[in-house]
Every structure is written in C-alpha cells, then in structure tokens.
Symmetry: C2
Subunit: 349 residues, 2 copies
Amino acid sequence: MSKINIDQVARYAFVSRSVVSRVLNNHPHVSDVARERVLNVIKKYNYQRNSAARSLAAKNTREIGILSTRNPNDVMSNGFSTLLYLGVFEECLAQRYSVRQMFISTEMKEEFQKFILNEHTLDGVILFAEEVTDLLAEELLFREIPAVLIGHAPGFSSISSVDVDNFAGSYSAVTHLVRLGHRNIGAMVGSQLLQESQDRLAGYRKALVDAGVPVNEAYVSVGGYTQKSGHDKMLSRIKRQPEVTAWFCASDTMAMGALSALHKSGQRVPDDVAVVGFDDLSFARYTIPPLTTIRQPIYQKGRYAARMLIDLINGKQTDIEHRNLKPDLVVRESCGHHSGMRHKGGHAP
Amino acid sequence: MSKINIDQVARYAFVSRSVVSRVLNNHPHVSDVARERVLNVIKKYNYQRNSAARSLAAKNTREIGILSTRNPNDVMSNGFSTLLYLGVFEECLAQRYSVRQMFISTEMKEEFQKFILNEHTLDGVILFAEEVTDLLAEELLFREIPAVLIGHAPGFSSISSVDVDNFAGSYSAVTHLVRLGHRNIGAMVGSQLLQESQDRLAGYRKALVDAGVPVNEAYVSVGGYTQKSGHDKMLSRIKRQPEVTAWFCASDTMAMGALSALHKSGQRVPDDVAVVGFDDLSFARYTIPPLTTIRQPIYQKGRYAARMLIDLINGKQTDIEHRNLKPDLVVRESCGHHSGMRHKGGHAP
DNA sequence: TTGTACGCGTTATCAG
DNA sequence: CTGATAACGCGTACAA
C-alpha cells in the first residue's frame, strides 16, 4: 500500500489538484461528477492526506496539549486524571483533533517552554492543575496560545476555565454532617495556595455558620490530596481532638487515608466518627465503610474544557468563560443514615 | 515576538540556508565562525524550527502514540495508567519525542484506523492493554508502523513487548499464602482471554502444586480487574466456599473490592480470611487492612517501552525483544505475619 | 466550475 | 566548507 499524494489522485480522477483539495475540504463549487470521480479514486487507492503538509500550509496542527503536573504524589493519587483525559480525548476525536499529553514540573520549566511551546506545534493547551497554570499561564498569554484551565486560577482570570463548584460541594457535604447531628466537625483540606482548596474550605465554614455551629479553626487540617496525607493527619488528630465526631475530607483519596487511620486507632466509622469525601472516584463505593462523598462530573469537565478550547482556537468563542459544574451529594455509609442528635466527648478546647 | 524562519536566520548571519540547517542538525562541514554567527542569531531572535515543515521534509514526526482501551471500567480502575504514561512521557522527553494519547474501543476501530493511523502522523505506537493489541496489531504490522506492546500478546510474538513477570508474581504471592499455613486458597483472576491473566493463574496453580497442595478448580473465579468485580465475586464466594481461608487477587483493585465484600459479610481480614493483591498501587497501603501485594515496576514499564519503541524507529534495534520485569512481594497486613498451620471450616465439596 | 502557480519552512543533493 | 536548487504535499488566490 504505497502512499499516494494529492497530485496522483488528481491525475487518476482526471481533474486538477484544486478540485481534489476542494472535495477534501468540503468546499463548494465542485461539480457532482468531479466529486464522484475524486471520491472513487480516494477510496480505491485509500488516499489519506499528509498531516505535516497540511499543517505547514494551513498553519495549524489540529493538535492540542493537555498539561498536568509531574508531581508524583499528585500524579498517583489523582485517580481521576484518566477519566478526565478520556473526556478531553473524546471531544477532540469528535472534532478531529489530537491530544498530546505532557507532564511538567518546576525544574523543567524552561526545557519545556523551548521544546514544547516554541515550535508552533500545538494549536492550544489545556492546563490541568493550578501548579501548571502558575508555571505557564504568563508565557501562554504572552505567546497568545489559546488555553483553557481545568480548575481555578485567581491570578489569571483572563483564561477561561471549567471547574466543579467547590464551594457548593463542600457546603452540601458539611450541611449533611450537621443535619446528622454533628457539631464538632473537622476539615482536612489541600494546600491553601490552591484556589480550589480555599473554596472547599470556605464552603465548610459557611455551612457551619449558616447552621449556627461555631467555627473552630483548630479543627482545620491542611495537607495534600493523597491517601498518605489523609492518613497521617488523621492519626495525629484523633488523639488531640477526640471530641470531633465528623470529618470533611476535601478528596476521596484523603478520606481513604483517614478511614485507614481511624481503623488503626480503633475508631468505628460511622458509629464513632463520620467521614465524608469529595470527588466520588470509582473506589469510593468500596472503602470500608463505603464513602459518602461529593460527586463531581470529571469526564464532563474534560469534555467541556476541550470544547471550549477548540472554540477558542477557531474563534467561535472570544469572550472568556468561567464555567462551574454542579456537584452532587452521594450518600453511602461513612456518615450513617440516621438523623437526630449525637453526643460524644466534650466540647472544643 | 514574531516568528522568524530559517531564511531570515541565514540572512542575518550572512550565510546560506544550508549552513543554518547544518548547524541546526549538528551536521559536520561547518566552519566555526559560521556556526558561531548562526548560533548568535538563533539566540538573539529566539528562532525555533517549524515542526510541520520539518516533518514534511524529514518524513517523520518525532511523535509516538500511546493507545489504551476506552473501556470505562478498565480506564477507571487501572489506577496505574497515569504512572505508566509518566514513564513513557519522560523517556520521550529525554529523546525529544512527543506522545499523543489515545483511547480506542472496538466500535471505533475503523474510525480510528482512518483518522489516526493513516495520516503518516505517528512514528510509532505503544500498545497498552491486549484488547488494543488484538484490535490493531495486524493493521500496524501491515502498515509497517513500529510498535511496542506493554503486556503480552501470544498471537503477535513479532511485536516487541515489556511486561512484568506475571507468573513469577502470582507464584510468589501464592507461595506466601501457603507458607502462612493456608491450604484452601482461592484465586480471583481477570479474563482468560488475556495472556496476562492466564499467566497469573498459571503461577497460582504452579505454586500450589510445588507446595503439594491440591489444586481445586472450583476455587478459581474469573472476573474483571475492577473493585466491583472483586467485590461481587467475593460476596458470592463467601457463602458457597467458606472453607477458603485465603484469596489471591490478580489486582489490587480486585483485592480492594474483595476486602469490602469480606467486611460486609462479617469476615475479619486477616484473622478469618487472608487476601493478597497484585500491582502495589498507591492506595494499597491504605486499604483496611493494608494490602500485602505484588509490586510491579509500572513507571519503568512505560519508560522501557518508550525506549524500545524509539530504538525501533531509529533502526537501532531490529530484533524483537520480550522483556520481563521482576515483581516483588510486599508484605503488609492483609495476610497476617504469623506462620504455622491454620484450620477453619471443612474441606472443599 | 476548473486549473495554474505560488507559498509554507525544512532537509537533502550536488555542484562549486 | 558553502550555497543554489529541488523536493516534501497541500491550500489557495487568481485567472480562465
């Protein structure tokens, strides 16, 4: 199956190169007979355009990049990244775009900029994780490379973004705990350098305030979005703050670590302590006990981000948009079902 | 920062286009002064080659594809895919290749072949998951597109591959259980259409035979590599085969599901039943109890696959290689530590 | 509606 | 060692 080019197609179809190009690109002004002939030749010889030549002439590559952090912890614990990629990929496939995958870290910032961004090789990029945004947003803006952010980046509001409503998510999680009768509710959240984490913490506070429950800042624990972090933080909290009867964890991974620590310490969930997570990763049904959590539409996030980016590339969308997807509370067993008051231990110090 | 092309560089450096190209590609026959001048201009104007033009002229793209299955279950439960991608990416980065990510399913086979494989747009591909191999291997061979497989594909031994030694892994897992005193040992494995699953099952059988423990085929349960499968299978087995005191699960995800089912059924792990997994995903430390499992070098798999592929592309490697990486037993708590005999329930029916 | 001719930015060839 | 010049395959004004 020797590769055949547009000129050969033209020759075999007894037309000129332009006609072939026009039917290829669905341009008008082609007679039915000519189109027919071209199409036949294309099918017969299984002709496919050379994408490099296409890119060269068209000055675009129909390829976008998705950049995530190289941080091993995050990479490994962010169980949802594959699902997110899938969303991005499928939207791109539908629009005949390809997606190039990249992981970047602080150390390779320059390396990256030279090799990746400079060669006019990507039509646009999706930034996944604020870490990445902080590293590259300025440069992308400067080079006028279309970009969409998955998540939030307060410092770069000129970049369109898709995110879940983190505030609303944690608000409903904590409200759920309050309704179950909890008063001493702890929070395990991610780095407050991340807007996302700030929002989730804010939702926690607001839920307490709205419920008339005093906010105790000593109950807030800041760590990373990993099982390890959730585990280690919880282990140290159990002894120091036994009066806490419920924990809001800002991710399912953290929550899983917390459950593990609770178990080691002989605490029963949900009988002694309630735990609620965030994300609803696929494993959340299978923790012990199954995790009550906040579901966020991960696949949709990826899909929507890709759509926004492609619209941006094609000039279909010019104004920036910050889209907030709605999260849902998924009640399983880690908080118990019963309502009514509960008491255990004393009050906050 | 307007883009500048090779001709401009040549002009500013008072040399011809050819000289510039030669220094760019590290070709010999360039005088030191000329090289110097060119390099200066390149730096001054921050010149970067246009990759499309490069590909067009060089007939290669310096981009490889990594193809995994679109199967949502697998996509979501294969927690190690991100780590694998990272390995592939970092090897490619080191060798200045890019990686394009794709998910493919049976339904879109043709679609895929047309859009992805036909446009001379990838220098080679890494096949991740046998499912993908079965779908595409023939076509790749036919088109003479370099390919490397992560995993095994018995039907396509002409494609180089990297894998963990699945047989050795399950062998040591089961041997561990035997040494702990277990006699009635069950196995939960993946689809036997996959060579990987066959090998893991074979290791299980051999370990039993070598230990003088009779193999009971009724103790083998075949399912998918997901928490759900592990959970559901275990739930149905507990009642029917209470005499089984230990389970070898062919993946950590399955094992996690199994632990969940065991807990629901009131079985204590490891006191009543022991469980061993496979993979050592990052969550394995945080299951309840922490999972004893077989660690496989996931990142290395990706890294090595990429290296093999690039060698293949550049003709550095011509003969096919089937590399088997060594797995390690990681002892945690899900099997207990104590040795000695144990008895519980009756014998197999 | 169709065809011609040129541009896109590089790499490779082959005289000088 | 250097520099024209010819591919590479496609898109697209512009002319017919």
